[in-house]
């Protein structure tokens, strides 16, 4: 028993001893478990994060091409795809991140403009904005005032504006450092080129469309020669005489208008004269016809009267004559304003009669001859 005790004590000790080494193993197992659990879960998180990153990476490669654009993806600096496949149409697309892929957007839908004032007189920005003309100088300053020389050695001012669209995006973007600048040069050139072959009058007045056409033809020719990748859609060309000479130009227009006015006046006169003549002519004809009718009718009537009177006359000529004479005298004397009766002198000598005729016209004075 006593053995049991120490045994038991030993046992106790043993148990204690056995317990002591068992204790760490029992502690180690859960902790390892916990660690591996933690590791596993953190690994899961990492995996999840990695997945997220991969997703983010994939999503980050998505890009949109807007409706008025096309895009080109440069892989290691070289356009991806061949031929027309190089151009990405509007919509969603995917590319690798920079520096492997680079996306270049090209605004093909937009209309661009380029203006040439190389041939225009110098204007300050305020004058340009308000559209007023600067003071006319009797000369042009080289490098300041732009102008073109015309085929007949005259000077004109020309300016032009082109509206264009990108028709070949690859060439437009990759072949030229500044397409807009180049187009500006080309337009300048076209203005001088066209001016050199037109007279000032043709460019200014008589053949403006022809001049504009020549400018445009030259621009298009150079665009196609250079494969500039631009298509001209609108063009506006303005031509103006030099400011100093403008008045003289206006005077010509005025003289022309006045000349035309003179011609118009003359034409009006001509119409008036002809119409008047036609009126007079018809009056003359009418008179002629009236006179003729009158003549024929009166003579006819008199002939008729004569024929009627003849038998009566023949029956008693003297009486008939006296009757007619008396009737006539009666009518004449009734009409006369003054009637002076001048009796014969008693001695039968001729009487002397003095008449003072008033200046009043149309007063016929009749005197019966003295027998």
């Amino acid at each position: 028993m006593s053995n049991d005790h120490p045994d038991s004590g030993h046992d106790h000790d043993h148990a204690h001893e056995a317990e002591t080494p068992a204790a760490p193993s029992s502690v180690e197992d859960p902790s390892a478990q916990a660690l591996s659990d933690a590791l596993r879960s953190s690994f899961n998180i990492v995996k999840f994060l990695m997945g997220l990153l991969v997703a983010a990476f994939i999503v980050s490669g998505i890009f949109t091409v807007k409706p008025n654009q096309v895009a080109v993806v440069l892989r290691f600096g070289k356009p991806r795809g061949t031929g027309p496949e190089q151009l990405l149409k509007p919509g969603l697309h995917w590319a690798l991140p920079y520096p492997i892929d680079e996306i270049v957007y090209i605004p093909v839908g937009e209309s661009h403009t380029v203006t040439s004032t190389a041939g225009w007189y110098y204007t300050t920005p305020e004058e340009e904005a308000s559209g007023t003309k600067p003071q006319a100088l009797p000369y042009l300053r080289p490098g300041v005032d732009g102008y073109t020389l015309t085929g007949d050695g005259n000077i004109t001012h020309v300016r032009a504006t082109l509206g264009y669209r990108i028709s070949d995006p690859l060439s437009y973007v990759f072949n030229f450092a500044s397409t807009t600048n180049l187009l500006q040069h080309v337009l300048d050139n076209a203005l001088f080129y066209a001016s050199a072959r037109f007279t000032a009058d043709d460019a200014l007045y008589w053949n403006r469309p022809g001049f504009q056409e020549a400018v445009l033809a030259r621009v298009n020719e150079m665009i196609s020669k250079l494969k500039l990748g631009a298509a001209v859609e609108t063009s506006e060309v303005r031509v103006s005489p030099p400011l100093d000479v403008e008045q003289a130009f206006d005077a010509v227009i005025k003289a022309q208008q006045q000349g035309n006015q003179k011609v118009l006046d003359a034409e009006a006169y001509a119409r008036g004269a002809t119409n008047r003549a036609i009126g007079q002519a018809s009056a003359i004809m009418r008179d002629g016809i009236t006179t003729s009718n009158y003549l024929v009718q009166t003579v006819g009537a008199e002939a008729q009267r004569f024929t009627d009177l003849l038998p009566r006359y023949q029956s008693s000529p003297e009486l008939f004559k006296q009757r007619l004479l008396a009737e006539t005298m009666q009518r004449v004397l009734t009409n006369a304003q003054y009637k002076l009766f001048l009796p014969e002198r008693a001695d039968g000598k001729p009487r002397e009669l003095r008449l003072q005729l008033s200046k009043e016209p149309e007063v016929p004075v009749k005197e019966k001859p003295k027998p």
């Binding site: 073109t148 002519a281 002629g288 003579v299 005298m329 304003q337 009766f341 005197e367």
Partner: protein, 303 residues
């Protein structure tokens, strides 16, 4: 043991990226490049894409813009063959065609290249213009005009030298501005004004002349119309007189009565209005006042 594959993978990726950065370089679509090894030229790259290289400092890369660049020459004075001073600006579209020569000539500086181009263009310009008359540059006669041809000649003159000496390809050359010295512009203005005055006189006299012609024609026409009408009227009257003459034949049957009637009529017509009559006692019917009561000796004739 568990961490090793990840570490290795990560390390490998990093090393790969590092090597990539050391041994690979990109040439963009808009670029050309030159590779030098220890400062010595080794090759040129004109195609876009990725390229292999040895790391710095063994190999060095020079990249240039390969696009067409614009260059504008200054506005300056030149004399034509017929001794006329003109001012002319020329623009040039150029690109680097041979990056090796370009690098060697200008050590890669575009500004230096443009300086050289400037003098090249100036020489070509004055050379070509000196061989041509002013009328080759501006003329209304299309056959005589050599605007294009002169541009081409300048281009040819610049092109050969730019390529061989500088590795530059000139793609385009054009006149950008053309002018005259200031004093000449005022003489041109004077001439233009004279021309205009001439035109004013021309239009004025033309208008006047045309108007006069129209008026004269109108007068002629009006007279013609009147003359025709008069002739027609005379013809009608003539016809009427012929017809009337037929009636007169009736009077011939008894001329004495006819004459008496005519006289009576004439007397009555002539004494119609505002008449003053001085009568003596012989005139019937006033002979009655004389108390004689004779038959009258003659008719009431007037004088």
């Amino acid at each position: 043991m568990k961490r090793n594959p990840i570490t290795i993978a990560t390390g490998a990726v990093l090393v790969l990226i590092f090597l990539f950065m050391l041994f690979i370089f990109q040439v963009r679509q808009t670029e050309v490049a030159v590779v030098t090894t220890f400062g010595k030229y080794s090759r040129s790259i004109t195609n876009a894409g990725f390229q292999v290289r040895l790391p710095w400092p063994v190999q060095k890369i020079y990249k240039f813009d390969s696009r067409i660049q614009n260059f504008e020459h200054k506005f300056d004075q030149t004399i034509t063959r017929d001794q006329i001073n003109i001012l002319i600006t020329v623009f040039v579209g150029w690109r680097i065609a041979d990056p090796k020569i370009f690098l060697e000539s200008f050590s890669g500086s575009v500004t230096k290249a443009e300086e050289k181009l400037e003098s090249l263009v100036r020489n070509a310009k004055s050379g070509v213009i000196g061989q041509h008359a002013f009328s080759d540059l501006i003329s209304t006669n299309r056959a005589e005009l050599k605007f294009d041809q002169m541009e081409n000649e300048m281009l040819k003159a610049v092109q050969a030298q730019a390529m061989s000496a500088y590795g530059i390809q000139i793609e385009l050359l054009g006149v950008k501005q053309l002018g005259l010295p200031e004093s000449i512009t005022s003489t041109v203005f004077e001439r233009m004004k004279k021309q205009r005055q001439g035109l004013v006189a021309k239009y004025e006299s033309e208008g006047k002349r045309e108007a006069e012609i129209i008026r004269a024609n109108a007068d002629v026409q009006a007279n013609e119309i009147l003359a025709k009408a008069k002739a027609e009227a005379i013809r009608i009257t003539g016809e009427a007189e012929t017809k009337a003459a037929g009636y007169y034949a009736v009077f011939e049957k008894y001329p004495e009565l006819a004459i008496f009637l005519f006289q009576l009529k004439a007397l009555e017509q002539s004494l119609k209005e505002r008449t003053h009559l001085i009568l003596d006692q012989q005139t019937p019917p006033f002979n009655l006042l004389n108390g004689s009561g004779n038959a009258p000796s003659g008719g009431g004739s007037k004088k």
